[in-house]
């Protein structure tokens, strides 16, 4: 149900970009379940509309779901998307891109175009920018310390050798800049590793599959999981709650499992495979050697494994969702135990697994 204090009313128009994605579809469903009746779902022309079509069918007569296909690199498409909207949930991004220019173009240039369109079409009541944990720097943080919303962002994202990290840092900077310079009310949400039925990969924070052998890197680290429904719920709230403009929210669930515990459960419930545990000291040393070799060889092997990335992804860290609970009134509706059960079941049923 819609909270009386929400900044939007049931008939206000809400825009969701990246609406056909893993999180986007669930967010649309969450907003419809909350009683919002006018949603504009923006997606790339190549996206499958199957899930949104199913939602349209389910909410037929109760809600108007506008399916808008386009490309956020085209300003005219952005203008069409932003017209008359009260809240923007901006999920579209260049996820999965290995090329820096491609990731940047599909995250930063698209976001700039959408923000410009919002300025032209009338500033929305809120612009929810969906970011990622990848933007945080762990470099100068002692092992085991809490990573929360007050932690510094990666100040040399180009050195992490992760195109997505670079693009997301720059996207967050851009949104903040537009907020300050043009008065666009924004909220930034940073989901951890979003999991649930339909998610194929195991997050790289647990390990990497190399030449048929899974290198388990996470060990005893807690993995910053958030179940898809819980994540969508938090994102939805970030666009609705009054009095949180300019705030940042990290999204993680309660009872986070360790990497080792997750891997054990995954093997037991989905499929068994060979894995080798690489202790943190060894993985750090390997990252350091790889980084040195990459520099010495002028990038003959790109520095995809490096110390900055190790600090960000491998260093033992604890996480908090206290701000999410106190400021947004969020609580995970699906427990970790139940979430993992559904995830494993989804993997088994579809045959889609890491």
């Amino acid at each position: 149900m819609i909270d009386e204090t929400a900044i939007v009313r049931p008939d206000d128009l809400i825009l969701v970009t990246g609406a056909t994605g893993f999180i986007g579809t669930k967010l649309v469903e969450n907003l419809l379940d909350r009683g919002f009746r006018r949603l504009r779902c923006f997606s790339r022309p190549s996206s499958s509309m199957e899930k949104l079509d199913a939602l349209s069918e389910r909410f037929r007569g109760r809600a108007e779901i506008q399916l808008l296909k386009g490309n956020l690199l085209r300003r005219e498409d952005c203008l069409a998307a932003a017209k008359d909207v009260a809240v923007v949930y901006h999920l579209a991004a260049g996820a999965g891109e290995k090329s820096f220019p491609d990731a940047f173009m599909n995250s930063v240039v698209t976001t700039r175009n959408l923000l410009d369109a919002c300025l032209q079409q009338g500033v929305p009541r809120r612009f929810v920018n969906v970011s990622s944990f990848t933007v945080y720097s762990n470099l100068e943080k002692p092992k085991g310390r809490l990573l929360d919303e007050s932690c510094p962002l990666e100040f040399h994202p180009e050195r992490v050798s992760d195109a997505y990290c670079y693009a997301k840092v720059k996207q967050d900077e851009l949104v903040t800049e537009y907020g300050k310079q043009h008065g666009i009310p924004y909220v930034v949400v940073r989901p951890g590793s979003v999991y649930g039925p339909g998610k194929k990969q195991i997050t790289g924070r647990i390990g990497v599959d190399t030449f048929g052998i899974f290198l388990h890197l996470g060990g005893g680290n807690r993995i910053q999981f958030t179940y898809i429904d819980n994540c969508a719920d938090a994102i939805a709230l970030a666009g609705l709650k009054a009095g949180i403009d300019g705030e940042v929210f990290n999204i993680v669930d309660d009872d986070l499992p360790t990497s080792r515990a997750f891997l054990r459960l995954y093997k037991r419930n989905v499929r068994s495979f060979a894995s080798v545990y690489i202790p943190h000291a060894i993985s750090y040393l390997l990252c350091r050697l790889w980084e040195k070799y990459s520099a010495w060889s002028f990038g003959q092997l790109p520095p995809v494994f490096n110390r900055r990335r190790w600090h960000a992804e491998m260093k033992r860290t604890s996480y908090s969702n206290a701000k999410l609970k106190t400021r947004l009134g969020w609580a995970p509706k699906v427990s970790m135990e139940e979430g993992l059960k559904r995830f494993f079941q989804g993997c088994r049923e579809t045959g889609q697994h890491a």
């Binding site: 790339r44 022309p45 190549s46 490309n71 999965g96 090329s99 820096f100 220019p101 491609d102 940047f104 173009m105 930063v108 240039v109 700039r112 180009e158 670079y166 720059k170 010495w296 060889s297 002028f298 990038g299 003959q300």
Partner: protein
Amino acid sequence: MLNVAIVGCGKIADAHAYQIERIAGCRIVAVCDTEPLMARQLADRFQVPRYFTDLTELLNESKPDVVHITTPPESHFKIASVCIERGCHVYVEKPFTLNYPDAQRLIALAEHHKRKLTAGHDGQFGHATRRMRTLVQSGYLGGAPVHIESYYCYELGDSGYVRALLSDKQHWVRRLPGKLLHNIISHGVAKVAEFMTSDAPQVVAHGFVSPFLKQRGEAEIIDELRVIISDGGATTAYFTFSSQMRPALHQLRVFGPKNGLILDQDQETLIKLRGGRLKSYLEKFIPPVDLARQYLGNFSQNVRSFLARDFHMTAGMH
């Protein structure tokens, strides 16, 4: 110090920037893109001192000696012309120009201004390709090539690129006169062209849309091409482009009157095919041993190049 500028800051510009950085005595002085954010990100990541959104401003203020053009193909001719007229040497990414007359005009312009002009067929300068060129020049083939076969394949699969290309009717590749072929085949054609003597050979081409694309409702994009080329009887060539055949070869086979060569660009191997035959059963036993020895030699050469940090993926640009 050679001052280099890059115009066009998309995906391929990164490969250029990495290779320029490797060359002693070269530095990137400026980058340019009509999209300021794209220009800024390239400058930001490669510590380039200036970035521009206007080519004239770049040429006036940064005064580069060399310009690498990595913009969409339809802009190559215009940008290259301006740069050459302003006294710059130019490296143009493939496809060189949109059509043959533009290519001719650009080459004439470079000759007139005594500037160097390069088409971005970096595959022509890999380790194995250079070894092949040396062998051919030393007379290994025993004369001019009799026949050439060039395979240049591209796995379409189910990548994001394919999904975007198929679903977006305004995709930039669709705007090229030759669409997908126009964007890709020049790498493979350049390998044939190197050995043809005529600038205007006879060409018989058969292109069609693969069943893979047809199943996805595509009727415009030709992704299968077979070509017969003849330069008046002296040398003939087959060129094959395929999105579906496996392995997706990038291979050149050159046959002379005495011997032949097989170049595999993916594996960086060069294999000599001797023209003579051994007696009786020896032909069944000795050549496989010789091929094994050659592959081992290629392996050894590749390892040595790697250890000498001279085995970069886009080294041909270097």
